[in-house]
Protein backbone atom coordinates (compact mmCIF):
# COMPACT_ATOMS: atom_id res chain seq x y z
CA UNK A 1 0.00 0.00 0.00
CA UNK A 2 1.34 3.42 -0.84
CA UNK A 3 1.05 5.83 1.98
CA UNK A 4 -0.74 8.84 0.56
CA UNK A 5 -0.24 11.30 3.35
CA UNK A 6 2.62 9.80 5.31
CA UNK A 7 2.29 9.09 8.95
CA UNK A 8 4.78 11.55 10.33
CA UNK A 9 7.95 10.40 11.98
CA UNK A 10 8.82 6.76 11.37
CA UNK A 11 8.64 4.70 14.53
CA UNK A 12 11.98 3.65 15.90
CA UNK A 13 11.32 -0.01 15.30
CA UNK A 14 8.84 -2.25 17.05
CA UNK A 15 5.08 -2.20 16.73
CA UNK A 16 4.42 0.42 19.37
CA UNK A 17 3.84 4.02 18.47
CA UNK A 18 2.74 5.32 21.86
CA UNK A 19 3.82 3.96 25.21
CA UNK A 20 2.62 5.41 28.47
CA UNK A 21 4.11 4.11 31.72
CA UNK A 22 3.31 4.87 35.35
CA UNK A 23 1.53 8.18 34.81
CA UNK A 24 0.64 10.11 37.94
CA UNK A 25 -1.04 13.46 38.26
CA UNK A 26 -2.55 15.09 41.33
CA UNK A 27 -4.59 18.29 41.53
CA UNK A 28 -4.23 19.41 45.10
CA UNK A 29 -5.25 16.44 47.21
CA UNK A 30 -7.15 14.74 44.38
CA UNK A 31 -5.22 12.02 42.61
CA UNK A 32 -6.61 12.52 39.09
CA UNK A 33 -4.37 9.97 37.42
CA UNK A 34 -2.83 7.14 39.39
CA UNK A 35 -0.27 4.79 37.89
CA UNK A 36 -1.73 4.63 34.41
CA UNK A 37 0.10 2.61 31.77
CA UNK A 38 -0.91 1.51 28.30
CA UNK A 39 0.52 1.22 24.84
CA UNK A 40 -0.81 1.81 21.37
CA UNK A 41 0.31 -0.33 18.44
CA UNK A 42 1.35 1.36 15.22
CA UNK A 43 -1.78 1.95 13.19
CA UNK A 44 -3.86 0.69 16.11
CA UNK A 45 -6.74 2.24 17.96
CA UNK A 46 -6.94 2.32 21.72
CA UNK A 47 -10.01 3.46 23.64
CA UNK A 48 -9.94 4.94 27.10
CA UNK A 49 -13.37 4.58 28.70
CA UNK A 50 -14.57 6.08 31.90
CA UNK A 51 -17.03 8.47 33.46
CA UNK A 52 -16.41 12.04 34.45
CA UNK A 53 -13.72 12.16 37.12
CA UNK A 54 -12.16 8.92 35.94
CA UNK A 55 -9.01 10.73 34.81
CA UNK A 56 -9.38 9.81 31.15
CA UNK A 57 -9.31 13.39 29.94
CA UNK A 58 -6.35 14.30 32.14
CA UNK A 59 -4.49 11.30 30.77
CA UNK A 60 -5.20 12.42 27.22
CA UNK A 61 -4.07 15.96 27.98
CA UNK A 62 -0.82 14.66 29.43
CA UNK A 63 -0.21 12.61 26.29
CA UNK A 64 -0.86 15.64 24.11
CA UNK A 65 1.27 17.87 26.32
CA UNK A 66 -1.43 20.25 27.53
CA UNK A 67 -0.95 18.95 31.05
CA UNK A 68 2.17 17.92 32.95
CA UNK A 69 2.57 14.56 34.66
CA UNK A 70 3.89 14.40 38.21
CA UNK A 71 5.56 11.10 37.40
CA UNK A 72 5.67 8.62 34.56
CA UNK A 73 6.71 8.58 30.95
CA UNK A 74 5.05 9.19 27.60
CA UNK A 75 7.02 7.78 24.67
CA UNK A 76 6.02 8.42 21.08
CA UNK A 77 7.96 6.51 18.43
CA UNK A 78 10.59 5.75 21.02
CA UNK A 79 11.11 9.37 22.01
CA UNK A 80 10.31 10.62 25.49
CA UNK A 81 7.95 13.58 25.46
CA UNK A 82 6.96 13.72 29.11
CA UNK A 83 9.70 16.20 30.05
CA UNK A 84 9.26 19.94 30.27
CA UNK A 85 8.39 21.10 26.74
CA UNK A 86 11.29 22.96 25.20
CA UNK A 87 10.86 26.53 24.15
CA UNK A 88 12.68 26.10 20.87
CA UNK A 89 10.75 26.14 17.61
CA UNK A 90 12.18 22.90 16.26
CA UNK A 91 11.34 21.00 19.40
CA UNK A 92 7.85 22.50 19.52
CA UNK A 93 7.09 21.46 15.95
CA UNK A 94 8.54 18.01 16.52
CA UNK A 95 6.28 17.46 19.49
CA UNK A 96 3.32 18.65 17.45
CA UNK A 97 4.10 16.10 14.74
CA UNK A 98 4.18 13.32 17.30
CA UNK A 99 0.68 13.84 18.69
CA UNK A 100 -2.29 15.81 17.44
CA UNK A 101 -5.69 16.20 19.02
CA UNK A 102 -9.34 16.57 18.05
CA UNK A 103 -11.37 18.28 20.74
CA UNK A 104 -14.87 17.52 21.91
CA UNK A 105 -16.74 20.64 20.94
CA UNK A 106 -16.34 21.58 17.29
CA UNK A 107 -18.07 24.89 18.03
CA UNK A 108 -15.28 26.01 20.33
CA UNK A 109 -12.16 24.42 18.91
CA UNK A 110 -11.98 26.62 15.82
CA UNK A 111 -11.14 30.33 15.83
CA UNK A 112 -14.42 31.97 14.76
CA UNK A 113 -12.56 34.52 12.63
CA UNK A 114 -10.46 32.13 10.55
CA UNK A 115 -11.85 30.49 7.41
CA UNK A 116 -11.51 26.76 6.88
CA UNK A 117 -8.89 27.12 4.15
CA UNK A 118 -6.82 29.41 6.33
CA UNK A 119 -7.01 27.05 9.30
CA UNK A 120 -5.29 24.43 7.17
CA UNK A 121 -2.87 26.85 5.50
CA UNK A 122 -1.74 28.07 8.94
CA UNK A 123 -0.84 24.55 9.95
CA UNK A 124 0.95 23.87 6.65
CA UNK A 125 2.87 27.14 6.75
CA UNK A 126 4.06 26.37 10.25
CA UNK A 127 5.11 22.80 9.61
CA UNK A 128 6.07 22.72 5.94
CA UNK A 129 7.31 26.21 5.08
CA UNK A 130 9.69 24.84 2.44
CA UNK A 131 6.90 23.44 0.26
CA UNK A 132 4.88 26.62 0.14
CA UNK A 133 3.91 26.27 -3.52
CA UNK A 134 2.25 22.98 -2.74
CA UNK A 135 0.00 24.29 -0.02
CA UNK A 136 -3.03 25.08 -2.17
CA UNK A 137 -3.01 21.55 -3.56
CA UNK A 138 -2.47 20.10 -0.10
CA UNK A 139 -5.41 22.07 1.35
CA UNK A 140 -7.58 20.60 -1.40
CA UNK A 141 -6.33 17.11 -0.61
CA UNK A 142 -6.98 17.47 3.10
CA UNK A 143 -10.48 18.80 2.57
CA UNK A 144 -11.15 15.98 0.17
CA UNK A 145 -9.83 13.48 2.67
CA UNK A 146 -12.35 14.58 5.29
CA UNK A 147 -15.19 14.86 2.81
CA UNK A 148 -15.38 18.62 2.43
CA UNK A 149 -15.32 20.56 -0.84
CA UNK A 150 -13.80 23.81 -2.02
CA UNK A 151 -17.07 25.54 -1.15
CA UNK A 152 -16.38 24.91 2.52
CA UNK A 153 -12.79 26.13 2.20
CA UNK A 154 -13.93 29.73 2.07
CA UNK A 155 -16.49 29.34 4.85
CA UNK A 156 -16.11 30.60 8.39
CA UNK A 157 -16.76 28.09 11.17
CA UNK A 158 -20.15 29.58 12.05
CA UNK A 159 -21.39 28.87 8.53
CA UNK A 160 -20.77 25.15 9.00
CA UNK A 161 -22.70 22.47 10.84
CA UNK A 162 -21.26 20.64 13.84
CA UNK A 163 -20.25 17.64 11.76
CA UNK A 164 -18.56 19.80 9.15
CA UNK A 165 -16.63 21.65 11.82
CA UNK A 166 -15.44 18.40 13.31
CA UNK A 167 -14.24 17.40 9.84
CA UNK A 168 -12.25 20.64 9.70
CA UNK A 169 -10.73 19.90 13.09
CA UNK A 170 -9.71 16.45 11.85
CA UNK A 171 -8.21 17.90 8.66
CA UNK A 172 -6.27 20.40 10.74
CA UNK A 173 -4.80 17.60 12.81
CA UNK A 174 -3.96 15.56 9.70
CA UNK A 175 -2.23 18.54 8.09
CA UNK A 176 0.59 18.14 10.58
CA UNK A 177 1.00 14.43 9.68
CA UNK A 178 1.03 13.22 13.26
CA UNK A 179 1.98 9.74 14.41
CA UNK A 180 -0.79 9.63 16.99
CA UNK A 181 -4.19 11.31 16.98
CA UNK A 182 -5.90 11.84 20.32
CA UNK A 183 -9.68 12.11 19.99
CA UNK A 184 -11.15 13.54 23.16
CA UNK A 185 -14.89 12.73 23.05
CA UNK A 186 -14.63 13.83 19.44
CA UNK A 187 -18.08 12.57 18.46
CA UNK A 188 -19.92 13.13 21.74
CA UNK A 189 -21.34 16.50 20.74
CA UNK A 190 -22.64 15.31 17.36
CA UNK A 191 -26.02 13.98 16.36
CA UNK A 192 -26.38 10.25 15.84
CA UNK A 193 -26.54 10.40 12.05
CA UNK A 194 -23.56 12.76 11.84
CA UNK A 195 -21.63 10.83 14.47
CA UNK A 196 -21.79 7.72 12.29
CA UNK A 197 -20.39 9.67 9.33
CA UNK A 198 -17.47 10.93 11.40
CA UNK A 199 -16.76 7.49 12.89
CA UNK A 200 -16.66 6.02 9.39
CA UNK A 201 -14.42 8.84 8.24
CA UNK A 202 -12.04 8.18 11.10
CA UNK A 203 -11.96 4.47 10.26
CA UNK A 204 -11.11 5.31 6.62
CA UNK A 205 -8.35 7.70 7.61
CA UNK A 206 -6.78 5.15 9.91
CA UNK A 207 -6.86 2.52 7.17
CA UNK A 208 -5.32 4.91 4.61
CA UNK A 209 -2.67 6.60 6.74
CA UNK A 210 -1.80 4.24 9.56
CA UNK A 211 -2.15 6.95 12.18
CA UNK A 212 -2.64 5.55 15.67
CA UNK A 213 -5.79 6.63 17.53
CA UNK A 214 -6.18 7.27 21.21
CA UNK A 215 -9.92 7.45 21.59
CA UNK A 216 -11.24 9.03 24.79
CA UNK A 217 -14.95 8.39 25.26
CA UNK A 218 -17.69 7.48 27.67
CA UNK A 219 -19.73 5.69 25.01
CA UNK A 220 -19.20 1.94 24.90
CA UNK A 221 -20.96 1.67 21.56
CA UNK A 222 -18.39 4.02 20.07
CA UNK A 223 -15.55 2.10 21.71
CA UNK A 224 -16.79 -1.11 20.21
CA UNK A 225 -17.11 0.49 16.83
CA UNK A 226 -13.70 2.13 16.47
CA UNK A 227 -11.14 0.62 18.83
CA UNK A 228 -9.00 -2.55 18.84
CA UNK A 229 -8.04 -2.32 22.49
CA UNK A 230 -9.62 -0.65 25.45
CA UNK A 231 -8.59 0.66 28.85
CA UNK A 232 -11.31 1.16 31.45
CA UNK A 233 -10.55 3.87 33.99
CA UNK A 234 -12.18 4.66 37.28
CA UNK A 235 -11.15 7.20 39.94
CA UNK A 236 -7.83 7.77 38.14
CA UNK A 237 -6.85 4.10 37.93
CA UNK A 238 -6.98 1.52 35.18
CA UNK A 239 -9.44 -1.14 36.34
CA UNK A 240 -9.42 -3.29 33.23
CA UNK A 241 -7.56 -3.43 29.93
CA UNK A 242 -7.50 -5.73 26.94
CA UNK A 243 -8.78 -6.28 23.41
CA UNK A 244 -12.08 -4.42 23.01
CA UNK A 245 -14.08 -7.43 21.87
CA UNK A 246 -12.94 -9.51 24.86
CA UNK A 247 -13.47 -6.81 27.45
CA UNK A 248 -16.96 -6.01 26.20
CA UNK A 249 -17.97 -9.65 25.78
CA UNK A 250 -16.53 -10.90 29.02
CA UNK A 251 -15.86 -8.07 31.47
CA UNK A 252 -13.76 -9.11 34.46
CA UNK A 253 -14.12 -6.08 36.66
CA UNK A 254 -17.41 -5.25 38.36
CA UNK A 255 -17.15 -1.65 37.21
CA UNK A 256 -16.82 -2.64 33.56
CA UNK A 257 -19.89 -4.81 33.99
CA UNK A 258 -21.75 -1.88 35.53
CA UNK A 259 -20.79 0.34 32.61
CA UNK A 260 -22.02 -2.27 30.15
CA UNK A 261 -25.28 -2.78 32.01
CA UNK A 262 -25.86 0.97 32.12
CA UNK A 263 -26.20 1.26 28.36
CA UNK A 264 -29.92 1.68 27.81
CA UNK A 265 -31.65 -0.95 25.68
CA UNK A 266 -35.06 -2.59 25.53
CA UNK A 267 -35.78 -4.50 28.71
CA UNK A 268 -33.26 -2.45 30.63
CA UNK A 269 -33.74 -2.22 34.37
CA UNK A 270 -32.39 1.03 35.74
CA UNK A 271 -33.08 0.06 39.34
CA UNK A 272 -30.73 -2.91 39.18
CA UNK A 273 -28.00 -0.69 37.83
CA UNK A 274 -28.52 1.88 40.54
CA UNK A 275 -28.27 -0.88 43.13
CA UNK A 276 -25.13 -2.32 41.51
CA UNK A 277 -23.58 1.14 41.46
CA UNK A 278 -24.18 1.66 45.13
CA UNK A 279 -22.79 -1.79 45.90
CA UNK A 280 -19.55 -1.06 44.05
Amino acid sequence: MTDTTGAGPEPAGGGTVLEVTGLHRAFGSVQAVHDVSFSLARGGSLGIVGESGSGKTTTARIVVGLERADAGRVMVCGRDRSGQPGRGRTQRLERAREVQMVFQDPFLSLDPRVSVGNVLREALRLHFPETRVDHARRVGELLDQVGLGSREAAALPRQLSGGQRQRVAIARALAVKPAVLVLDEAVAALDVSVQAQILNLLADIRRDTGIGYLFITHDLGVVRCVTDDVVVMRHGRVVEAGPTADVLADPRHAYTRLLLDSVPRPGWNPKHIAAARRAL
Binding site: S52, H218, G221, A245, L259, V263, P264, G267, A274
Partner: protein, 334 residues
Protein backbone atom coordinates in the same frame (compact mmCIF):
# COMPACT_ATOMS: atom_id res chain seq x y z
CA UNK B 1 -61.65 12.11 17.22
CA UNK B 2 -62.56 12.70 20.84
CA UNK B 3 -60.11 13.35 23.58
CA UNK B 4 -60.01 10.54 26.13
CA UNK B 5 -60.73 11.84 29.59
CA UNK B 6 -57.44 10.67 31.01
CA UNK B 7 -55.30 12.49 28.43
CA UNK B 8 -52.94 14.80 30.26
CA UNK B 9 -51.39 16.42 27.21
CA UNK B 10 -53.17 16.64 23.89
CA UNK B 11 -51.36 18.51 21.16
CA UNK B 12 -53.27 18.98 17.91
CA UNK B 13 -51.79 20.37 14.72
CA UNK B 14 -49.17 22.49 16.43
CA UNK B 15 -47.40 24.72 13.94
CA UNK B 16 -44.72 27.15 14.94
CA UNK B 17 -43.15 29.82 12.76
CA UNK B 18 -40.02 31.74 13.55
CA UNK B 19 -39.11 35.01 11.87
CA UNK B 20 -36.48 34.46 9.18
CA UNK B 21 -37.23 30.77 8.67
CA UNK B 22 -38.38 29.65 5.24
CA UNK B 23 -40.57 26.89 6.60
CA UNK B 24 -42.42 26.27 9.87
CA UNK B 25 -40.10 25.02 12.60
CA UNK B 26 -42.91 22.77 13.77
CA UNK B 27 -45.21 21.72 10.95
CA UNK B 28 -48.30 20.12 12.42
CA UNK B 29 -47.44 18.11 15.51
CA UNK B 30 -50.08 15.76 16.96
CA UNK B 31 -48.96 14.29 20.24
CA UNK B 32 -50.66 12.92 23.34
CA UNK B 33 -49.49 11.88 26.77
CA UNK B 34 -51.89 10.00 29.01
CA UNK B 35 -51.92 9.82 32.76
CA UNK B 36 -49.08 7.65 34.12
CA UNK B 37 -47.69 7.24 30.64
CA UNK B 38 -44.08 7.72 29.54
CA UNK B 39 -43.78 9.09 26.05
CA UNK B 40 -40.43 9.55 24.39
CA UNK B 41 -39.87 12.25 21.81
CA UNK B 42 -36.81 11.31 19.77
CA UNK B 43 -34.95 13.38 17.22
CA UNK B 44 -31.69 14.97 16.27
CA UNK B 45 -30.77 18.59 16.96
CA UNK B 46 -32.90 20.90 14.88
CA UNK B 47 -35.74 18.40 14.59
CA UNK B 48 -37.90 20.57 16.85
CA UNK B 49 -38.18 18.10 19.71
CA UNK B 50 -37.10 20.55 22.41
CA UNK B 51 -39.29 23.28 20.94
CA UNK B 52 -42.25 20.92 21.05
CA UNK B 53 -41.78 20.17 24.73
CA UNK B 54 -41.09 23.79 25.61
CA UNK B 55 -44.19 24.98 23.83
CA UNK B 56 -46.26 22.96 26.31
CA UNK B 57 -45.23 25.57 28.89
CA UNK B 58 -45.43 28.29 26.24
CA UNK B 59 -41.69 28.85 26.56
CA UNK B 60 -41.39 30.09 23.00
CA UNK B 61 -38.51 31.85 21.30
CA UNK B 62 -39.02 35.57 20.68
CA UNK B 63 -41.07 36.33 17.59
CA UNK B 64 -42.60 32.86 17.38
CA UNK B 65 -46.14 32.54 16.09
CA UNK B 66 -48.21 29.44 16.72
CA UNK B 67 -51.25 27.65 15.36
CA UNK B 68 -53.04 24.65 16.75
CA UNK B 69 -54.03 23.51 20.20
CA UNK B 70 -51.93 22.37 23.14
CA UNK B 71 -54.40 21.12 25.71
CA UNK B 72 -53.02 20.30 29.14
CA UNK B 73 -55.76 18.65 31.17
CA UNK B 74 -58.24 19.98 28.68
CA UNK B 75 -57.17 23.62 28.77
CA UNK B 76 -55.46 25.22 25.78
CA UNK B 77 -52.05 26.55 26.79
CA UNK B 78 -51.79 28.82 23.76
CA UNK B 79 -55.00 30.62 24.76
CA UNK B 80 -54.22 31.07 28.46
CA UNK B 81 -53.93 34.46 30.10
CA UNK B 82 -50.89 35.31 32.19
CA UNK B 83 -52.49 34.16 35.44
CA UNK B 84 -53.58 30.77 34.10
CA UNK B 85 -50.19 30.32 32.50
CA UNK B 86 -48.49 30.91 35.83
CA UNK B 87 -50.81 28.40 37.43
CA UNK B 88 -49.97 25.91 34.68
CA UNK B 89 -46.25 26.34 35.19
CA UNK B 90 -46.49 26.13 38.98
CA UNK B 91 -49.02 23.35 39.43
CA UNK B 92 -49.90 21.47 36.28
CA UNK B 93 -46.78 20.94 34.20
CA UNK B 94 -43.13 21.05 35.22
CA UNK B 95 -39.95 20.94 33.22
CA UNK B 96 -36.62 19.26 33.88
CA UNK B 97 -33.79 20.72 31.88
CA UNK B 98 -30.74 19.10 30.36
CA UNK B 99 -28.08 20.86 32.35
CA UNK B 100 -29.08 21.24 36.00
CA UNK B 101 -26.06 23.41 36.67
CA UNK B 102 -27.27 25.97 34.15
CA UNK B 103 -30.87 25.83 35.33
CA UNK B 104 -30.26 26.43 39.04
CA UNK B 105 -29.04 29.75 40.41
CA UNK B 106 -25.63 28.93 41.93
CA UNK B 107 -25.89 31.68 44.54
CA UNK B 108 -29.11 30.46 46.17
CA UNK B 109 -29.45 27.56 48.54
CA UNK B 110 -31.21 24.46 47.28
CA UNK B 111 -34.02 25.06 49.78
CA UNK B 112 -34.73 28.52 48.35
CA UNK B 113 -34.67 27.14 44.84
CA UNK B 114 -37.19 24.45 45.70
CA UNK B 115 -39.66 26.60 47.59
CA UNK B 116 -39.44 29.83 45.60
CA UNK B 117 -42.09 29.11 43.03
CA UNK B 118 -44.61 27.80 45.56
CA UNK B 119 -44.08 30.67 47.96
CA UNK B 120 -44.50 33.24 45.22
CA UNK B 121 -47.29 31.69 43.19
CA UNK B 122 -49.24 29.45 45.52
CA UNK B 123 -49.31 31.61 48.65
CA UNK B 124 -47.94 28.78 50.72
CA UNK B 125 -46.41 29.72 54.03
CA UNK B 126 -42.65 29.35 54.30
CA UNK B 127 -42.99 26.46 56.72
CA UNK B 128 -45.41 24.48 54.60
CA UNK B 129 -43.26 25.02 51.53
CA UNK B 130 -40.11 23.96 53.38
CA UNK B 131 -41.85 20.88 54.69
CA UNK B 132 -42.93 19.92 51.19
CA UNK B 133 -39.41 20.55 49.88
CA UNK B 134 -38.02 18.17 52.49
CA UNK B 135 -40.60 15.54 51.51
CA UNK B 136 -39.77 15.86 47.84
CA UNK B 137 -36.03 15.67 48.50
CA UNK B 138 -36.71 12.50 50.41
CA UNK B 139 -38.69 11.17 47.45
CA UNK B 140 -35.71 11.67 45.15
CA UNK B 141 -33.40 10.03 47.65
CA UNK B 142 -31.70 13.10 49.07
CA UNK B 143 -31.56 14.07 52.71
CA UNK B 144 -32.98 17.19 54.29
CA UNK B 145 -29.42 18.41 54.72
CA UNK B 146 -29.31 19.33 51.04
CA UNK B 147 -31.86 22.12 51.68
CA UNK B 148 -29.14 24.27 53.21
CA UNK B 149 -26.49 23.50 50.62
CA UNK B 150 -25.49 25.44 47.54
CA UNK B 151 -25.63 23.92 44.02
CA UNK B 152 -21.84 24.07 43.82
CA UNK B 153 -21.60 21.57 46.67
CA UNK B 154 -23.58 18.90 44.82
CA UNK B 155 -22.61 16.53 42.03
CA UNK B 156 -24.34 16.60 38.65
CA UNK B 157 -26.45 13.57 39.48
CA UNK B 158 -27.54 15.03 42.82
CA UNK B 159 -28.38 18.34 41.17
CA UNK B 160 -30.56 16.61 38.62
CA UNK B 161 -32.40 14.96 41.53
CA UNK B 162 -32.89 18.41 43.02
CA UNK B 163 -34.23 19.49 39.65
CA UNK B 164 -36.66 16.57 39.68
CA UNK B 165 -37.69 17.36 43.25
CA UNK B 166 -38.39 20.93 42.20
CA UNK B 167 -40.48 19.68 39.29
CA UNK B 168 -42.54 17.65 41.77
CA UNK B 169 -43.02 20.54 44.21
CA UNK B 170 -46.22 21.76 42.60
CA UNK B 171 -47.65 18.23 42.32
CA UNK B 172 -47.82 18.41 38.52
CA UNK B 173 -49.93 16.26 36.24
CA UNK B 174 -47.27 16.33 33.56
CA UNK B 175 -43.48 16.34 33.64
CA UNK B 176 -41.55 17.48 30.60
CA UNK B 177 -38.00 16.19 30.69
CA UNK B 178 -35.74 17.75 28.05
CA UNK B 179 -32.70 15.48 27.67
CA UNK B 180 -32.52 15.18 31.47
CA UNK B 181 -29.66 12.70 31.45
CA UNK B 182 -27.52 13.87 28.54
CA UNK B 183 -25.16 15.80 30.80
CA UNK B 184 -24.83 12.88 33.21
CA UNK B 185 -22.60 9.80 33.30
CA UNK B 186 -24.14 6.53 32.11
CA UNK B 187 -24.33 4.96 35.53
CA UNK B 188 -25.89 8.13 36.95
CA UNK B 189 -28.27 8.21 34.01
CA UNK B 190 -29.64 4.83 35.00
CA UNK B 191 -30.25 6.08 38.50
CA UNK B 192 -32.02 9.27 37.41
CA UNK B 193 -34.15 7.44 34.87
CA UNK B 194 -35.10 4.80 37.43
CA UNK B 195 -36.06 7.54 39.84
CA UNK B 196 -38.19 9.37 37.26
CA UNK B 197 -39.96 6.14 36.47
CA UNK B 198 -40.67 5.45 40.13
CA UNK B 199 -42.03 8.89 40.77
CA UNK B 200 -44.19 8.83 37.66
CA UNK B 201 -45.77 5.67 38.98
CA UNK B 202 -46.13 6.97 42.51
CA UNK B 203 -47.53 10.42 41.71
CA UNK B 204 -49.49 9.37 38.64
CA UNK B 205 -47.93 11.97 36.37
CA UNK B 206 -47.51 11.78 32.63
CA UNK B 207 -43.94 12.03 31.42
CA UNK B 208 -42.80 13.45 28.12
CA UNK B 209 -39.17 12.42 27.75
CA UNK B 210 -37.21 14.27 25.08
CA UNK B 211 -34.03 12.52 24.00
CA UNK B 212 -31.72 11.89 21.08
CA UNK B 213 -30.86 8.42 22.39
CA UNK B 214 -32.95 5.73 20.70
CA UNK B 215 -31.76 3.05 23.09
CA UNK B 216 -32.86 5.12 26.06
CA UNK B 217 -36.21 5.84 24.46
CA UNK B 218 -36.72 2.15 23.79
CA UNK B 219 -35.73 1.27 27.34
CA UNK B 220 -38.04 3.55 29.25
CA UNK B 221 -41.05 4.62 27.24
CA UNK B 222 -44.49 3.22 26.52
CA UNK B 223 -44.84 5.10 23.27
CA UNK B 224 -42.36 6.90 21.04
CA UNK B 225 -42.58 9.79 18.61
CA UNK B 226 -39.71 10.14 16.14
CA UNK B 227 -39.31 13.68 14.84
CA UNK B 228 -37.53 14.90 11.75
CA UNK B 229 -37.36 18.47 10.44
CA UNK B 230 -40.34 19.69 12.45
CA UNK B 231 -42.63 16.75 11.72
CA UNK B 232 -43.48 13.45 13.31
CA UNK B 233 -41.97 10.77 11.08
CA UNK B 234 -43.33 7.82 12.97
CA UNK B 235 -45.11 7.04 16.21
CA UNK B 236 -46.27 3.97 18.05
CA UNK B 237 -45.64 1.65 20.98
CA UNK B 238 -41.92 1.61 21.80
CA UNK B 239 -41.38 -2.11 21.53
CA UNK B 240 -43.14 -2.53 18.20
CA UNK B 241 -41.39 0.46 16.72
CA UNK B 242 -37.89 -0.60 17.57
CA UNK B 243 -38.51 -4.17 16.55
CA UNK B 244 -40.18 -3.26 13.27
CA UNK B 245 -39.39 0.32 12.30
CA UNK B 246 -41.65 1.44 9.48
CA UNK B 247 -40.12 4.78 8.54
CA UNK B 248 -36.77 4.80 6.71
CA UNK B 249 -35.53 7.54 9.03
CA UNK B 250 -36.20 5.49 12.16
CA UNK B 251 -34.51 2.52 10.56
CA UNK B 252 -31.52 4.59 9.44
CA UNK B 253 -31.14 6.12 12.89
CA UNK B 254 -31.16 2.67 14.47
CA UNK B 255 -28.57 1.43 12.02
CA UNK B 256 -26.24 4.39 12.40
CA UNK B 257 -26.11 4.21 16.20
CA UNK B 258 -22.94 2.45 17.37
CA UNK B 259 -24.25 -0.28 19.65
CA UNK B 260 -22.89 -3.11 21.69
CA UNK B 261 -24.98 -5.73 19.93
CA UNK B 262 -24.20 -4.89 16.31
CA UNK B 263 -21.20 -6.36 14.51
CA UNK B 264 -18.02 -4.31 14.53
CA UNK B 265 -16.95 -2.35 11.50
CA UNK B 266 -18.38 0.46 9.43
CA UNK B 267 -21.66 1.99 10.48
CA UNK B 268 -24.47 2.56 8.05
CA UNK B 269 -24.32 6.34 8.26
CA UNK B 270 -27.10 8.52 6.92
CA UNK B 271 -25.63 10.63 4.15
CA UNK B 272 -25.98 14.40 4.17
CA UNK B 273 -27.37 16.65 6.87
CA UNK B 274 -30.81 17.56 8.17
CA UNK B 275 -32.42 20.31 6.07
CA UNK B 276 -31.68 23.83 7.26
CA UNK B 277 -34.48 26.18 8.26
CA UNK B 278 -33.58 28.40 5.34
CA UNK B 279 -34.74 25.79 2.82
CA UNK B 280 -38.34 25.31 1.96
CA UNK B 281 -39.42 21.70 1.85
CA UNK B 282 -41.67 20.11 -0.72
CA UNK B 283 -42.51 16.49 -0.31
CA UNK B 284 -41.05 14.31 2.39
CA UNK B 285 -38.46 16.15 4.53
CA UNK B 286 -36.26 13.05 4.62
CA UNK B 287 -36.33 12.48 0.84
CA UNK B 288 -32.90 14.05 0.23
CA UNK B 289 -31.18 11.60 2.59
CA UNK B 290 -33.34 8.54 2.18
CA UNK B 291 -32.05 5.42 0.43
CA UNK B 292 -35.47 4.58 -0.98
CA UNK B 293 -36.49 7.90 -2.51
CA UNK B 294 -38.76 7.82 -5.56
CA UNK B 295 -40.19 10.80 -7.48
CA UNK B 296 -43.34 10.86 -5.38
CA UNK B 297 -41.25 11.43 -2.25
CA UNK B 298 -39.90 14.76 -3.45
CA UNK B 299 -43.27 15.92 -4.78
CA UNK B 300 -45.85 14.96 -2.20
CA UNK B 301 -45.82 15.33 1.52
CA UNK B 302 -46.56 11.88 2.95
CA UNK B 303 -49.61 11.90 5.28
CA UNK B 304 -49.62 10.10 8.59
CA UNK B 305 -51.31 6.78 7.96
CA UNK B 306 -51.93 3.90 10.36
CA UNK B 307 -49.69 0.89 9.87
CA UNK B 308 -51.56 -2.10 8.52
CA UNK B 309 -52.74 -4.41 11.34
CA UNK B 310 -51.18 -2.09 13.91
CA UNK B 311 -53.73 0.71 14.35
CA UNK B 312 -51.81 2.35 17.22
CA UNK B 313 -48.91 3.13 14.93
CA UNK B 314 -48.78 6.03 12.51
CA UNK B 315 -46.12 6.53 9.90
CA UNK B 316 -45.50 9.30 7.38
CA UNK B 317 -43.87 7.50 4.46
CA UNK B 318 -45.15 6.81 0.94
CA UNK B 319 -43.40 3.46 0.79
CA UNK B 320 -43.78 2.25 4.34
CA UNK B 321 -45.63 -0.92 3.43
CA UNK B 322 -43.36 -1.99 0.57
CA UNK B 323 -40.26 -1.41 2.68
CA UNK B 324 -41.49 -3.18 5.80
CA UNK B 325 -39.17 -6.16 5.47
CA UNK B 326 -36.07 -4.19 4.51
CA UNK B 327 -36.57 -1.74 7.35
CA UNK B 328 -37.08 -4.50 9.90
CA UNK B 329 -33.47 -5.59 9.40
CA UNK B 330 -32.24 -2.60 11.35
CA UNK B 331 -34.30 -3.45 14.40
CA UNK B 332 -32.99 -2.82 17.86
CA UNK B 333 -32.51 -6.03 19.78
CA UNK B 334 -31.34 -6.45 23.28
Amino acid sequence: MTTPAETTLDMRGLRLHLPGAARPVLAGIDLTVAERETVALVGESGSGKSLTSRSVLRLLPPGATTEGVIAVQGEDVLAMNAKRLRHLRTHTAAMIFQDPRAAINPLRRVGDFLTESLRLNADLSDDTAAERAARMLDAVGLGERVLGQYPGQLSGGMLQRVMIASALMGDPALILADEPTTALDVTTQAEVVGLLDDLRERFGTGLLFVTHDLGLAAAISDRVYVMYAGRIAETGPAQAMFERPRHPYTAALLRSTPRLATPQGRLAAIKGQPPSLREELTGCPFAARCAFTTPVCTEELPPHVPVRSEPTRLVACHHSDELADQLAESALHD
